[in-house]
């Protein structure tokens, strides 16, 4: 495998470089050969930037994203078994790179900090000439990098980001999200919870004290309350909290019979472990079994919480045990290459890369504005979540959402969740001007220089 930008930059020296910051250039610099947008690929290669957490608490998730990206690049360049390219409803991709240009990539470390993520993304844009940035595993990073890409005239294909804000109040024309969001989690979970735990329940929320936590709490609250649940209390917990005992101990005294943990990552692993430790799940309250709900699940978190996840409901974007053709093809090629099944983060990153490449092929240009046009209101299938729509109004994907449950008898260390229900897309669709997503302005696409 040869590396990317080195050759690419060599080829740029036709004076078309402009790119530098990707920010505007005085007109006199716009030499001919420049295609009118930032980092226009001029040689026979194109560089993508994979910006994932490689240090910090989400490093393992980032590593899995990176594996997916490498696999996607391999497939785009015609290597491997082609994975989802064979099941994807659009047949524009030929396995000869993108628009005939071989796909190369650069990687960076977001450290799950918005500053570091932007520094890394800027170096990809300025130094390596990346024409698209993708990745990340938190909403803070996604929003920060999305804003940067909007300014620089680069396409941003979000990785794992679940907060409503990414395609709500902080949406940007150059940014696209395939992953689902807080609202969808709430809308998908509520009916399943009602069916399993009844409509007469008293819920106690523990919420991570930052944007994602707020939007998730709001989404779950409003959709469960709509079904008749009562919210007894909602307590905010600091992000830096590691021991949740003092938040969990008072739950039983409140008369609540369901505990909703609006936590992600390390917070969720610890709060769930603590809640189970306190024996909450063995208790009878209001003559009902006490239950715990985790709105957003990931396999890596489930692994961290170990046996504590058994029987606990949550939602997820995708799971490797899905039996549609797309998922099977992806699991097959990922599993063959790496020896274990992919995580949902890997799936969304892989799909985002293919979607971008496909949009470029269909648009016939790397120009961000052409790509935006090709992706907006694009309907596709065969990528593991059934029929999917990339809505033009907010650049959010609308697709089926999975409600999952911690598996009682896992077969292997990856077999931790089982799918309870595939919530159809109609049930999780909302209006672009829904109050939980208000206050944003998509703006118009920016091709940069």
């Amino acid at each position: 495998m040869s590396n990317s930008k080195l050759t690419r930059r060599g080829l740029i020296k036709t004076g078309a470089v402009a790119g530098a910051a990707g920010l505007t250039l005085p007109t006199y610099l716009r030499a001919d050969g420049h295609a009118g947008f930032t980092n226009a690929p001029t040689g026979d290669t194109v560089t993508l930037g994979f910006n994932v957490p490689q240090s910090g608490p989400y490093a393992d998730e980032g590593a899995d994203e990176l594996r997916a990206y490498e696999l996607a690049v391999e497939h785009l360049n015609g290597g491997g078994d082609g994975g989802m390219m064979n099941t994807f409803s659009s047949k524009a991709l030929q396995g000869n790179g993108i628009l005939g240009k071989k796909v190369e990539y650069v990687t960076g470390d977001t450290q799950t900090k918005s500053d570091a993520a932007r520094a890394s993304a800027r170096s990809m844009i300025e130094k390596d000439g990346a024409v698209m940035i993708t990745g990340g595993s938190s909403s803070g990073v996604a929003v920060a990098v999305q804003a940067l890409c909007q300014e620089a005239g680069i396409i941003f294909m979000a990785g794992l980001t679940h907060s409503n804000d990414t395609t709500g109040k902080d949406k940007k024309a150059n940014g696209f999200r395939h992953f689902f969001n807080s609202y969808m989690s709430g809308a998908a979970l509520a009916p399943v919870l009602a069916a399993n735990y009844g409509t007469d329940r008293k819920a106690y929320h523990l919420t991570a004290d930052y944007n994602w936590g707020y939007t998730t709490e709001e989404a779950v609250r409003s959709s469960t309350e709509a079904m008749g649940w009562e919210t007894v209390n909602a307590v905010k917990t600091p992000l830096t909290q590691t021991d949740f005992s003092s938040y969990i101990a008072p739950v039983l005294q409140s008369g609540a019979d369901v505990l909703v943990l609006n936590h992600y990552g390390g917070n969720m692993v610890n709060s769930l472990t603590n809640a189970v430790q306190f024996g909450l799940r063995d208790k009878l309250v209001n003559d009902k079994n006490f239950e715990i709900v985790v709105p957003l699940y990931s396999r890596l978190m489930a692994k961290g919480a170990g046996a504590n996840v058994k029987g606990i409901f949550g939602s997820t974007n995708w799971h490797w045990s899905l039996q549609d053709e797309g998922s099977k093809a992806f699991v097959q090629s990922f599993g063959t290459k790496y020896g274990f099944p992919p995580s949902q983060a890997a799936h969304t990153c892989y799909v985002q890369t293919l979607l971008y490449a496909d949009a470029v092929e269909r648009a016939g240009s790397f120009n961000p504005c052409a790509v935006v046009e090709a992706l907006e209101d694009f309907e596709f299938d065969g990528m593991g979540n059934g029929k999917t729509l990339y809505r033009g109004a907010d650049h959010q994907c609308f697709k089926d959402v999975l409600v999952v449950k911690g598996k009682e008898n896992p077969q292997s260390e990856f077999d931790l969740l089982e799918i309870v229900e595939v919530t159809p897309v109609a049930q999780v669709t909302y209006d672009p001007d829904h109050p939980q997503f208000s206050g944003g302005n998509l703006g118009t696409c920016n091709p940069g220089a």
Partner: protein, 343 residues
């Protein structure tokens, strides 16, 4: 009332973790005068001793089970721990179940060894260097230690449950005459509290009632004079370093069932443990323990829903707020000695 009792319990439990870490830190920091930013890493390594032991106990060979399929449709590979072959499945499971308590035996020699190596190999050369250099070298060491752990164990938390016998919780409420289920507390956390009390007691007794401890205490107070008396204080300080490392490590081992350990748990505790030590007062072991429990209890109260309604966000800052108030009203923390790290 029951809510308050519950938060006091929580506070004691949190406090015992803080106190244990602060105790080890203050042995090094407040007495040897070394700013040890690697102390959190020692706590983390202790926790990973438990992980390592349970990995060793579950070392497996694979057999192929034709009746089941894995995710790619190939025959499932099933891991069978060697320990099953040696002791049979039932005994083997019981041993694996008790991995965390067993790790105590494993962690003590490992941690003392690491402490010795650290002190002899590195820290020794930094006693006379400025604190700034100590910060840089121990911070570097902390990063190196945690990256090594990350390399071998990944960044994800690793669940390390308590033995079955200690799972579930104990109903204090029923015992004290409250309604059932109002005051429940997990067995393992009670074990942790008791364990912390024993360790803290043992360290104090060791320093208070043994000749060795007496010499060390004298050395803390006036190292040169003790040296002039012909006593080899350096050797004793090495041993103290080993003990401090062991205390941190044991705190880590016992903590694993409470929260799944990960490679950066040491950094999470590092700042907090410095705050605890300083609030307790430099050079004072009782101060560190007292401050640990005090901050633990206050943190627990600040996390109550009623408190948060009046003062939103107080749970975010309570520890630092209390630290500021204490340091402004008591110049050397709760029980600090004059002249230690004040210049």
């Amino acid at each position: 009332m029951d809510a308050i009792i519950l938060q006091i319990l929580n506070g004691l439990d949190k406090g015992s973790a803080y106190a244990l870490i602060a105790l080890g830190l203050t042995l090094i920091f407040g007495t040897l005068g070394v700013v040890n930013f690697a102390h959190g890493a020692l706590f983390m390594i202790g926790a990973f001793c438990a992980v390592t032991l349970s990995r060793i106990l579950t070392l497996s060979h694979t057999i192929i089970d034709e009746t089941q399929k894995d995710f790619l449709g190939n025959p499932l590979k099933v891991d069978v721990p060697y320990i099953y072959d040696i002791f049979g499945q039932q005994t083997g499971d019981a041993i694996i179940d008790w991995a965390v308590p067993l790790s105590i035996l494993f962690a003590i020699p490992v941690m003392i060894g690491i402490g010795f190596i650290m002190e002899r190999g590195l820290i020794k050369h930094f006693y006379k260097r400025p604190h700034a250099d100590q910060i840089l070298v121990t911070f570097g060491l902390a990063i190196v230690l945690q990256e090594i752990i990350k390399y071998f164990y990944g960044a994800n938390p690793i669940p390390t449950p308590a033995p079955d016998a200690f799972r579930g919780s104990f109903d204090f409420g029923a015992m004290l005459g409250f309604d059932p289920n109002t005051i429940i507390y997990p067995y393992w956390r009670l074990v942790y509290f008791a364990f912390a009390a024993v360790i803290i007691g043992a360290v104090f007794a060791f320093l208070q009632f043994t000749t060795f401890g007496m010499v060390v205490r004298a050395g803390m107070a006036d190292r040169e004079t003790v040296g002039l008396l012909g006593i080899n204080i350096d050797k004793r300080f090495t041993i103290m370093f080993g003990i401090a490392a062991a205390v941190a490590g044991l705190a880590g081992v016992m903590y694993t069932p409470i929260n799944s350990p990960n490679y950066h748990m040491g950094m999470d505790f590092l700042v907090l443990s410095f705050v605890v030590v300083v609030v307790g007062g430099m050079g004072s072991l009782p101060g560190a323990v007292l401050a640990g429990f005090l901050l633990g209890i206050l943190e627990s109260f600040a996390s109550m829903a009623v408190v948060l309604e009046i003062l939103p966000g107080i749970n975010q800052i309570i520890i630092y707020l209390v630290a500021i108030i204490i340091l402004l009203t008591r110049p050397r923390g709760l029980m600090g000695r004059r002249g230690v790290m004040e210049e």
